[in-house]
């Protein structure tokens, strides 16, 4: 029971990091990135290939994270231009369909070229007891990096000029433009940031379990559930929802069985939509 709780928090931090990238792009551009999990795995595969080629893990990880960021940056500058020309429901639908297409392309490419390639970053050292539960160095490092990334995000959005600029576009695009904020520039920046966050999930998750093409769809679904429960557009909401869902995940597989966890998580998302449509920390509709 206690170990399920601690495991749940470790897993939940990863879920939070996964959800943040998705939630930001939706809050800002109205694009539901259904390729988010695919991009995370793409980043992990780049790391694995660079390590195979003989590089050390750390520079390889940086390269993989940068590749994931560059991939989404490129999407913003090319494919997404067509989406931004649309408004309202049509923008959401077109963005959704294009991103679904991107997800299939990445999945297809990975199955074709790298069907068995996996990233498993091993972090050396003995397990450390935390609250009476023995935790591997890998899950400690992954959690540490994730918490640090979350704190950097919160500080960035609260205290930096650019972070405020991003929030201003999410809250009132016309107001932002009148203040001298360019919504297009902010969008490009956030797409790249979301890609970096996806790549970071691929890397940190691989410290506790191997990441390969099999993980793409479940990552995307998890990101979606976390973003919905946390409130679309909310950074701290995504982390809160991530940790809660991580604990629910571990508890339900501990008491019921692994096979039902995804169903339980989807149920959490459904209950959230009914009981609190704007999510845990999301903005209530005006």
């Amino acid at each position: 029971m206690r170990s399920a709780l601690v495991d749940g928090v470790v897993l939940g931090l990863q879920y939070g990091l996964l959800g943040v990238g998705l939630t930001l792009i939706y809050g800002l551009a109205g694009v539901l990135n259904l390729a988010h999990g695919q991009i995370a795995v793409l980043g992990a595969i780049v790391v694995a290939l660079v390590v195979d080629a003989g590089a050390a893990a750390f520079p390889a990880a940086l390269l993989g994270i940068a590749a994931a960021g560059a991939f989404l940056l490129l999407l913003d500058l090319t494919l997404m231009r067509a989406v931004y020309r649309q408004e309202g429901e049509r923008r959401v639908l077109l963005g959704l369909l294009l991103m679904l297409g991107v997800a299939f392309v990445i999945d297809g490419f990975l199955v074709w070229r790298y069907p068995v390639e996996q990233l498993a970053l091993r972090v050396g050292g003995d397990a450390v007891p935390i609250l009476g539960v023995r935790m591997t160095r890998g899950s400690l490092l992954a959690s540490g990096i994730t918490v640090a990334a979350g704190l950097v995000l919160v500080v960035f959005f609260r205290y930096s000029s650019l972070g405020r600029g991003v929030r201003s576009v999410i809250q009132d695009e016309e107001g932002a433009r009148l203040c001298g904020v360019s919504p297009a520039a902010v969008r490009t920046f956030v797409f790249a940031m979301s890609g970096v966050l996806a790549g970071l999930v691929g890397v940190t998750r691989s410290m506790t379990s191997p990441i390969g093409v099999n993980n793409t769809i479940s990552f995307t679904i998890l990101a979606l559930i976390v973003a919905v429960v946390g409130g679309l557009g909310s950074v701290s909401g995504a982390f809160l929802a991530g940790v809660l869902l991580g604990v629910v995940d571990r508890l339900s597989s501990f008491y019921i069985g692994t096979y039902v966890t995804t169903i339980v998580l989807l149920l959490c998302a459904a209950v959230t939509i009914v009981a609190r449509p704007s999510g845990l920390l999301g903005r209530s509709p005006p």
């Binding site: 000029s161 405020r164 009132d172 016309e174 009148l178 360019s182 005006p286």
Partner: protein, 233 residues
């Protein structure tokens, strides 16, 4: 001449609301655009700020044509606009709204002092979310946010919208202070007496066309203006 508008026509989805509008604004003067609801005042301002796509004619700001320049770039050049709907960032604090006004530069503490001096009520509510302010306070914040960019021209669309008469007069006292400090103002208004007191010149816009122009004294004496906007029988 800091603003030169020539033959401006604009509207929504191909349908023109504003027709062939021409007017100038000199540096340091206050000009008012008077008109009833739906006369095209907001459309005119939105077109000048690049917020509408269908525009013909030219808009020169400080000697350069801005009719093809995106809104955020116009704002950075020093043309600040306070829309009637204000477009504040409702979930952010008063201070955060003001800081965004200076974007992308760092806020100038002197300008912040000036804003808080002009609107002491904002200073009392620094940490409060903009969405929880009263209507009058929100209008103060919208003007304050626009001032933070140290604009060369401040354009206000019906600054008295939704304000009680006492608050409307208070808002215009603040605008008069800014005018006396040398800021160029362009104000649209339905509350014509207040606007004519503030401005040195004015234009009357009806059905999207400028029908009458003159000094504030001339407009105040004009029988048509008196009948339509000043409540004189």
């Amino acid at each position: 001449m800091i603003l030169r508008v020539r033959g401006l026509s604009a509207g929504y989805a191909g349908k023109h609301v504003v027709h062939d509008v021409t007017f100038d604004v000199d540096e340091g003067e206050a000009v008012t655009i008077i008109g009833s609801n739906g006369a095209g005042k907001s459309t005119l301002f939105r077109a000048m700020l690049g917020l509408l796509h269908t525009v013909s004619g030219t808009i020169e700001f400080d000697g350069r044509d801005i009719s093809k320049v995106p809104t955020h770039a116009i704002a950075r050049r020093g043309l600040a606009y306070v829309p009637a709907e204000r477009h504040l960032f409702a979930q952010m604090s008063v201070v955060e709204n003001l800081l965004l006004g200076a974007f992308p530069r760092r806020a100038d503490p002197e300008v912040e002092d000036l804003v808080f001096g002009l609107f002491p009520r904002l200073a009392e509510r620094r940490k409060q979310a903009a969405g929880t302010l009263s209507g009058g306070e929100q209008q103060m914040l919208a003007v304050g946010r626009a001032l933070m960019s140290k604009p060369r021209v401040l354009m206000l669309d019906e600054p008295t919208t939704g304000l009680a008469p006492r608050l409307a007069a208070e808002a215009y006292r603040a605008l008069a202070t800014l005018r006396d400090a040398g800021l160029t103002l362009v104000v649209t208004e339905q509350q014509v007496p207040l606007a004519l007191q503030l401005a040195s010149r004015g234009h009357v816009i009806e059905n999207g066309r400028i029908e009458l122009s003159g000094t504030s004294a001339e407009l105040a004496d004009n029988p048509d203006v008196q009948r339509a906007y000043l409540g004189v029988a």
